[in-house]
Symmetry: C2
Subunit: 207 residues, 2 copies
């Protein structure tokens, strides 16, 4: 029994760390390293690894999209997310996309290799902390695509009137969207809605 692992992470230092951890284990080996999502999808086709360790925020193609692409091509591939982001939205989206595990980068090396074994064995890997984060926000209330769009513009400082103009709707409609957003997120105003959305991984700052 020899577990093959593909690492997908844009940080060379992290890749080196994972490689070092896995090389110490007799029952597993790193068969490839990808530095972005697109390369991860390509290398997974080439190496057909037992387990893919996947970061989330990466250039070219983010981890969620890469997970979806890999699962579409190989529905049985085991993918474990290994990232610094602990927002419930990130976790939900990763698991929905087909990840079978979700680890944070403050996980101990021993637990990472154990997670790889667990995943290779076909079981899910959700540490208590991650599971607790999911439980914090039940029932799950996702923002709709339109609401996400409106919130992103609000984060950029656009007024309701300007948001209405750029999405081609009336200001009244924008106000309704924002009311729903604040209600779903439990925010008192648009500013707190943005803060909460960023904390929970619903919105990202890079755009």
């Amino acid at each position: 029994m020899n577990i093959s692992v593909l690492i997908t992470d844009d940080h060379p230092i992290v890749r080196a760390g994972i490689r070092a951890l896995i090389s110490n284990e007799p029952d597993m080996q790193v068969v490839g390293e990808a530095c972005d999502g697109a390369e991860g999808v390509a290398l997974h086709e080439e190496y057909e690894p037992d387990v893919v360790l996947m970061d989330l925020r990466m250039p070219n193609m983010d981890g969620i999209a890469a997970i979806r692409a890999i699962r579409a091509a190989s529905p049985n591939r085991r993918i474990v997310v290994l990232t610094t982001y602990d927002g419930d939205a990130d976790i939900h989206r990763a698991l929905d996309a087909g990840a079978c595990g979700y680890l944070l980068k403050d996980t101990l090396g021993r637990e990472v290799v154990n997670a790889v074994r667990t995943a290779a064995d076909g079981r899910k890997v959700i540490p208590p902390g991650v599971a607790g984060r999911l439980a914090e926000f039940t029932p799950r209330l996702d923002l709709t695509p339109r609401e996400l769009e409106v919130l992103a513009y609000a984060a950029k400082g656009l007024r309701n009137k300007d948001i209405a103009r750029v999405i081609g709707r009336t200001e009244e409609t924008v106000k309704v969207h924002l009311k729903h957003i604040m209600s779903k997120l439990g925010a008192t105003d648009r500013t707190e809605a943005v803060t909460i959305a960023l904390q929970r991984g619903i919105l990202h700052m890079d755009s």
Copy 2:
């Protein structure tokens, strides 16, 4: 010539990666690993390393405070920041605190070990990307402590009136602070001010 290095980072995986990189070099060695700022300060006293590699966001004591503490105790200690945060405010604060280098975690392993050599040699290590980020925001306009406090409350969704109450000032004063904040950050409203402050590392979400 043998350069001793202390690693301070809360991610075991990152520590393993740095350790692996440095172990490959004949002229340097890792003498210790700290998993938070407080431990970094303590271990630096014990090992007196030539170079300290320091993360910024950590439990117990953040990297900036740790840099200040180490430089206060040992003004000649060379400290190189190695972090994922690329906001100009983070970079400025680290260099002000006494860091002699600032690397991002997407730096190649080869460049990390070269940076360690450069730092041990007494020279500064500021890659072009990091320097460019600093140049983007010249002249430098720091928020005052009061402005930071007001902005943090605004991010939490407090109204001007409520902010005034919690800081024991009038609402008019809060409005003036917010005007200055928006002016300094180039924001059109409080929401964009929060977004910009988070992007630039002026404000953090964890509080």
